[in-house]
Subunit: 237 residues, 2 copies
Amino acid sequence: MTNTTVLYQHGTLALLVPGLLAGTLTMGELLQHGDTGIGTGEGLDGELIILDGTPYQVDSAGRVNVVADAFTLPFANSHFAAYKPLMTVIAATRSAVEKQILATAEQPNIFFSVKLTGTFTDVTTRAVAKSQPPYDSLAETARHQSIFKRKQVEGTLLSYYAPQLFDGVAVGGFHHHFLSADHDFGGHLLEFGQASGTVMIQTFATLEQHFPVADAAYQHHDFSQDNIMADLHQAEG
Amino acid sequence: MTNTTVLYQHGTLALLVPGLLAGTLTMGELLQHGDTGIGTGEGLDGELIILDGTPYQVDSAGRVNVVADAFTLPFANSHFAAYKPLMTVIAATRSAVEKQILATAEQPNIFFSVKLTGTFTDVTTRAVAKSQPPYDSLAETARHQSIFKRKQVEGTLLSYYAPQLFDGVAVGGFHHHFLSADHDFGGHLLEFGQASGTVMIQTFATLEQHFPVADAAYQHHDFSQDNIMADLHQAEG
């Protein structure tokens, strides 16, 4: 069943804040819900990006690995790709690209995905290093992240947009992951200088929000003691 | 396909705040996602409660009507019932019932439904009066609600619990609708004195959040100008 109007999400962004980082879904299961997606591994083991059914992991050493079906994740999104052309951008900054997408799509209150394929300058990405149980909080883990830079690179920016009401469930606004065309550079996108290429969009009628119901640590955690929004905006901003 | 681990939701609670009250889903469509549920009609036309596949509306005159498949709703929940016994309560206040459910279920971070069937004292419900386009905001509409009271009544309390992270998407915490056993009294529950009866629970692994994607007013609305949380807690508290 490949419903292209459904965005699947496992876990919530918020559960990363107190370090509920057990891998509660396998990549094999995630791929049943889509051929395109993003996520992170157990213990915040790198940055995942799924393109055309292949799950790539950018680890904290900057290596790009294809992960096995048994690889587990605490948080991930996937969907079946059915993108439509939205616009072309030429030497556009990240901020300009985001504004143009929102102005063109005019759909700030639903989830959608965009894929920008082209040439990027001054790309900065990050990948987090895997922590072991007892897991670090997101704020602690973020201190051990690696930063990677490329002056100019061809590649694909895969992004999800979430309405602000869902900030904390997902990243409110845009959440970008990047993979180079040569599959040798990528990660969670922090910034780029300028992008030139094609922007495709896919809108979703439904968010299929799946919870890690078998994970006792998640089920019993008291989130009221966490600074969810402050820590997320610090780490994902 | 009757997956009893899925809670379906159409619309968000937040969209009621600025008065985005067009009926964007039919009752017939809602019933395809469950035989049990709650909701409100177009223009906040009463309080809906679906039990065993029958959709009852408590209107602002206090009448209980069975609505047709063509009846439309801006916001609703439904699921296929597969409740399990949780506990028995005897002369328990609403606050005590809610605390006992949370203490017994120990699942504050996932969505679940409870059904309390028994005898209730001092029940207070409300039902909102339907507004016409251009629709009133939730705060304005709430001023025109009707309040109903019963000293003692047998009936069913149908409740959904949402994790606090989803406050605004749904009602964070418990959201209760009531229907009397005689089908002559009900609505959105504001308070009861004491309840004696059986509490059943059904937990959900997935929230299937569906958006009114065909509604231009929803798609283009600027929610950043609304006091979503303050108005919701005023109206739904």
